[in-house]
């Protein structure tokens, strides 16, 4: 059996060169890469470019790289990358080539089949593995998507703010609706932190989170069990005082909360300083109170506090709304 026939079975991507670097024989799979142009008779380096370990332009240069891993690229298109190793043979050489990591594209580009690879070649196993892993990944990805969906659904149904353990906006809406339906009297305080953004910006989100947790604790301590404390935005809170509409009591609670929140909060060797502005609306001030109107009234009162220089508490009165409309709306506390 002639050498070329042996080699075609063992290394179907080999090429045999004569002493001048011309192709004397090309393995059947290698020939498939340039099916339209016979490789035999052409100069090897004109068909395939050597990139590493160093470029070569002559057979002499090529022959100096015996036994080392070489990186090639097909000239023309597609510019398939190839790996190879060269052994001198007589006055010429044999170079065995393979696709390396680009094998998946190559199999697609040249429509190769199992028969194009040596029986011992692991290419088909590698293709199997790539597909099997993609299928398994896809199954995992679908599971993750479903779990993510379930998590979002659960969060949407939840009544708790995960960072502070307070009620969330959904819970607040629920409580307000229930109390209005029952015709109960209550006070609604809208509290907005001052200088919180500065803490977040200068000391980082971990410090911000720490401050929010501390704020939550203060508010829970300053309210009764039957009251509701909800975090309704990044640094906004709503407190609902059940059957508590005594203005002087509410004023006192608001003052105490503000003064406690103004105490410096240590965090990892730094000190966070914040304050709070509060606006309060009372359910009995309105003839037909709705959740929306009460929240809105408290909001107007809150911005009166902000305008008054922060760290203040204000009860809602209709003239505040007129005052707010008369002046340009304050910048929505971007700096606070």
């Amino acid at each position: 059996m002639p050498l070329d026939d042996f080699m075609d079975v063992l290394c179907p991507m080999h090429v045999r060169l004569d002493s001048t670097g011309r192709i004397v024989h090309a393995g059947p799979t290698l020939q498939k890469l340039r099916a339209d142009e016979p490789l035999v008779g052409r100069r090897f380096l004109e068909v395939i470019e050597l990139l590493r370990p160093r470029r070569a332009s002559s057979m002499g240069e090529l022959l100096t790289m015996k036994g080392v891993k070489m990186h090639f690229q097909m000239r023309g298109t597609p510019r398939t990358a190839l790996k190879g190793v060269m052994v001198p043979q007589g006055r010429g050489a044999i170079i065995n080539l393979s696709f390396g990591i680009g094998v998946i594209e190559a199999v697609r580009d040249y429509v190769l089949t199992s028969a194009d690879f040596a029986a011992t070649d692991l290419t088909v196993e590698m293709l199997y593995l790539v597909e099997a892993k993609s299928a398994a990944m896809e199954a995992s990805r679908k599971l993750n998507l479903r779990l993510q969906g379930a998590k979002i659904a659960a969060e949407e149904q939840a009544f708790t703010d995960t960072l502070t353990g307070l009620k969330n906006r959904r819970a607040m809406d629920h409580v307000l609706t229930r109390m209005l339906e029952a015709g109960q009297e209550f006070a609604l305080m809208h509290l907005d932190l001052d200088f919180f953004k500065a803490v977040n910006d200068t000391l980082g989100h971990a410090a911000g989170d720490h401050v929010l947790q501390r704020v939550a604790r203060v508010m829970v301590e300053e309210t009764r069990d039957e009251d509701t404390v909800a975090r309704v935005g990044g640094d906004e809170f709503v407190l609902i005082f059940h059957k508590q509409t005594d203005r002087s009591k509410l004023e006192e609670i608001a003052r105490r909360i503000i003064s406690r929140l103004e105490k410096p909060i240590p965090f990892e060797g730094q000190v966070c300083r914040i304050s709070a502005s509060i606006g309060t609306s009372l359910s009995l001030d309105d003839e037909r109170p709705t959740a929306e109107s009460l929240v809105n009234d408290a909001d107007v009162a809150l911005y009166a506090s902000k305008r008054a220089g922060r760290a203040c508490h204000t009860f809602y009165t209709p003239d505040l709304r007129d005052a707010q409309q008369a002046t340009t709306p304050p910048e929505r506390a971007a700096a606070c």
Partner: protein, 195 residues
């Protein structure tokens, strides 16, 4: 039982019959969920309950159900990815048969906690083979029959299969190759990817 196998049974019912039939199956089997997750693991009894429920609802024996599942796994377009993975095993049907010994290892390479029963192929002559499934869940050989029948079809080979029983955790399938190039078979392009 691995979720992939349970999920395959679920897809078989859903794709061959309907989602309503599948929901009937879950109720009949007394499951407290309506779908298997492919990447989770379930108690073996759950699989048995489901197969029994399918048999009752469709009036089929356990063996028939399992063989149908096997056929579905290779022939339904929704599970084309699996057909492709099996086709990587060999260039023709006989080559494929010889790859079955390594099927559990191939499965593990893809999903490392997927344990398939061991398989041993014996070649009695160029046309006669026997495949022994070792320590599989009862009836696994019937699912394998379905897979082999559909794969023969896929390769275009004409075969005669017979489940010759077994015992002690073994099931034997006798395979007679009548013609290896009986029909055109389905195309298998190495570089294509099942969508």
């Amino acid at each position: 039982m691995h979720g992939l196998i349970n999920r395959a049974i679920q897809c078989f019912v859903r794709d061959t019959y309907s989602n309503e039939v599948w929901l009937d199956v879950t109720r009949f089997a007394g499951l407290d969920f309506t779908g298997f997750e492919a990447m989770l693991t379930y108690e073996a009894e759950v699989t048995d309950l489901v197969i029994a429920a399918i048999g009752s609802i469709l009036s089929k024996s356990r063996e028939e159900v399992l063989e149908d599942v096997g056929t579905y796994l290779v022939s339904h377009p929704n599970v084309e990815a699996l057909r492709r993975l099996l086709r990587f095993g060999g260039v023709d049907f006989v080559d494929f048969l010889h790859s079955l010994d390594e099927l559990p290892d191939r499965a593990r390479l893809a999903v490392d906690d997927l344990d398939l029963p061991g398989m041993a192929l014996r070649e009695h002559s160029h046309e006669r083979f026997s495949l022994t499934c070792i320590d599989g869940p009862p009836g696994f050989g019937h699912a394998m029959m379905g897979i082999l029948r559909a794969m023969a079809d896929d390769y275009g080979a004409l075969v005669y299969l017979e489940h010759s029983g077994g015992g002690a955790g073994r099931e034997v399938i006798e395979i007679t190759l009548i013609e290896s190039e009986f029909a055109e078979g389905r195309e298998f392009d190495l570089g294509a990817r099942a969508g």
